[in-house]
Amino acid sequence: MSESKKDLEEFQREISHWLKANKPADPEFLLPETFMEVGTDRQFDFLRNWQQKVYEAGYLGMAWPEEYGGRGRHQEYQNIVNREMAEQRVPFVPNTIGLNWAGPLILQRGTEADKQKYIKGILNAEDIWCQGFSEPDHGSDLGNVQCKALKDGDSYIVTGSKIWTSLATYAKYMILLARTSNTDSNKYAGLSFFLSPMKVAGIDVQPIKKLTGEYGFCQTFFNEAKIPADCIMGNEGEGWSVAMATLTFERGAAGGQAGGLSMMDLNVNDIVELAKHSRRNGQPVLDDPLIRDELVQLIMDDRSNRLMSSRSRIPALRGERPAAVAMSGKLRGSELKRRMTKFAISLQGANGSRYVGSSAIDGGRWQRSYFNSFSATIGGGTSQVQKNILGERVLGLPKS
């Protein structure tokens, strides 16, 4: 199914044109930058409508099979859409867990019935998905999941709680990692993986107020919630391996996502623009040699990330540790974002002390972005855990 360069170029012109014509106007409120930051109904409605529009125009699930609602084309088409959406700074599509993690997983490991049931709703944003992996007491330590799911006839009875379940208030389904057995000597062997419905008695969702002062994450409580036994993915006890497969999607180390832009990617060019128009203590900030130098370093690091992706596509240049680039993507991206947003505040002089909603520069976007940047340096394995993983799996160092 190799595609001609000409076809792809033509397609790029098409999507570029479509996005220009259909990019929604800026709403009167500050939009979130990722699905984890959707804190109000009006933000959610705006983004769900946008996803629906993109899907109906044929630009989501482009490489997913047509029989389930996809477009059956080559993955390269989806990549072009994603890049073009980022390029044109359009809003992101909010069903991130469905499009990028649950969807690929179902297509890879689900039954025919699963595919029929779930895929289309993921694409058109009818069925929002959330993720139930982390628990309040074992943030980075997935193997220690305590939420219980006990078989009872053709149901499982779920008791426990999950945290960081973004979009849970809107979600119809959750990918859920729960403990089906406590007797196994190996803690991993007691875990199972479910495509759990959310609108079930005994499942309560509580929004979590973030350090930004906004909402966007939730905690989901299971109080003897009864979910159908056939929503298990794989067999009992296979939960760990299914979860690990899902995480390879999350860490960007595997392909196959239905795509669409999943965040309003903060770009180093945005910082350069901010710098060009900012003044510190009455002077253009670009006259300040220390600001210049820090900005140059950010530009270099941003460029490093881009060039690393390029290089990793050239087999002869992958070097001794071909996994290094892909496995470090989250660490590099999230830490750079934290540094960039922190730096952006420093361009504002005394107005750096302001915050969202006042007469802050750019509506306080930068201060909020800095706070939100921690969701990526913490969630999905903290930066500290990422460095352990890289040290151990890429460099072969002994476990800490």
Binding site: S134, D141, S346, S353, I378
Partner: protein
């Protein structure tokens, strides 16, 4: 520069008193309650007045204790440790303008009241957020004995409860200060602002159309006294904040487990925490050295300037770093509003960008330390 720290008996006693006062009056629940309610705690304020804290740096002839601003440092440091919500910082800063100013009438009128609890505040920041007080655009225009004001001031602290407002304006092409009663300002000219540190009550002040008597003018021998006082007290408050940030990190590292180990056993968390400890020990040493230099009230020499820039540079960098790590090391919990880490980070960022961040002060230090004219 000497390395000798002049620490007075008064400072020592004030440190003891302030530590326990702030601890008992400002536990974290109280801070959170005050953030939600924006309600001035008159009782707490009265307790400080009775301790004589508002008069420390006011000369005895105006009913004060006649000590220096260095003696206020232990108090502000202790407040910082407890993130205390109080107009003490703003009021003490504004007081310095009157104390060091030339207007005897205003001193007689206001200073004894301040000792007794009248709150003062400073209105000097403007739209652009410049740090240098000389970059002032608010205008005063003389009309006989009256001066008509125009312009807007921002980030004026505690303006809702202040009785005395000191404002910088450009008059006859010079930056001067005026001191007025807050009740002369129409309420609609005062608007609450949102700032990153929610323990601050911050307001904008629309000056347009205000008319004041020229008797409200205060001249300072050197405008620097404002910046110098602010750098000292901000650094003190930040030093206290940094100490509590460190304690908050240590507590969590000693209670939270991951992968069956207390997270404090991981060097990836332990070593940066040691870095924060060392930054705190350094900052506190600079702080009390600098406080000792304020003793004689003569704040014009280069040594003091160097000391102040060093304090604020170190405080800005280390407190912001510690606040950032405090969030990160609390993991998912650190990302919630419920976790105290955000209180420290917000305080750190607010303070970092008041009166100059670390880069700004290091550049001023480079001039003072490395250029021949120094």
């Amino acid at each position: 520069m000497s390395n000798q720290i002049n620490f007075t008996e008064e400072q020592s006693m004030l440190l003891d008193t302030a530590m326990s006062f702030c601890q008992s009056h400002s536990p974290i629940e109280t801070v959170r309650h005050q953030i939600e309610n924006h309600k001035f705690d008159a009782e707490q304020w009265q307790a400080m007045v009775e301790l004589g804290w508002l008069g420390i740096s006011i000369p005895e002839k105006y009913a004060g204790l006649g000590l220096g601003l260095g003696e206020v440092v232990p108090i502000v440091e202790s407040m910082g440790r407890n993130l205390m919500v109080s107009p003490f910082l703003a009021s003490t800063l504004a007081t310095q303008v009157l104390v060091h100013g030339d207007n005897e009438n205003l001193k007689n009128k206001y200073l004894p009241n301040i000792v007794n609890g009248s709150i003062a505040t400073l209105a000097i920041q403007e739209l652009e957020g410049a740090w240098d007080i000389n970059l002032n655009e608010a205008l005063g225009k003389r009309e006989g004995e009256l001066i008509t004001l125009s312009g807007t001031k921002f980030q004026v602290l505690d303006l809702d409860v202040a009785e005395i407002v000191i404002i910088s304006i450009l008059l006859d092409k010079q930056v001067v200060l005026i001191c007025i009663d807050q009740k002369e300002i129409p309420p609609e000219n005062i608007k609450r602002e949102i700032v990153i540190d929610e323990t601050r009550n911050s307001f904008s002040l629309d000056l347009n159309g205000l008319k004041i008597q020229s008797s409200a003018l205060v001249k300072l021998k050197d405008l620097k006294v404002i910046e110098q006082s602010a750098l000292l007290l901000l650094s003190a408050e930040m030093c206290g904040g940094l100490a509590s940030t460190l304690n908050t990190i240590i507590d969590y590292l000693n209670t939270r487990k991951q992968f069956d180990r207390l997270i404090g056993s991981y060097q990836a968390l332990k070593h940066p925490t040691v870095d924060i400890l060392l930054a705190l020990e350094a900052l506190r040493s600079h702080l009390y050295y600098t406080a000792g230099q304020f003793g004689d009230g003569d704040s014009s020499d280069g040594d003091l300037e160097v000391a102040l820039h060093m304090c604020k540079a170190l405080a800005s960098e280390s407190f912001a770093y510690a606040g950032d790590r405090c969030i990160q090391f609390h993991g998912g919990f650190g990302f919630t509003y419920e976790c105290d880490a955000q209180l420290f980070l917000r305080r750190a960022i607010w303070s970092q960008y008041q009166f100059g961040d670390e880069k700004y002060h290091r550049q001023l230090l480079a001039k003072l330390l490395l250029d021949e004219c120094a």
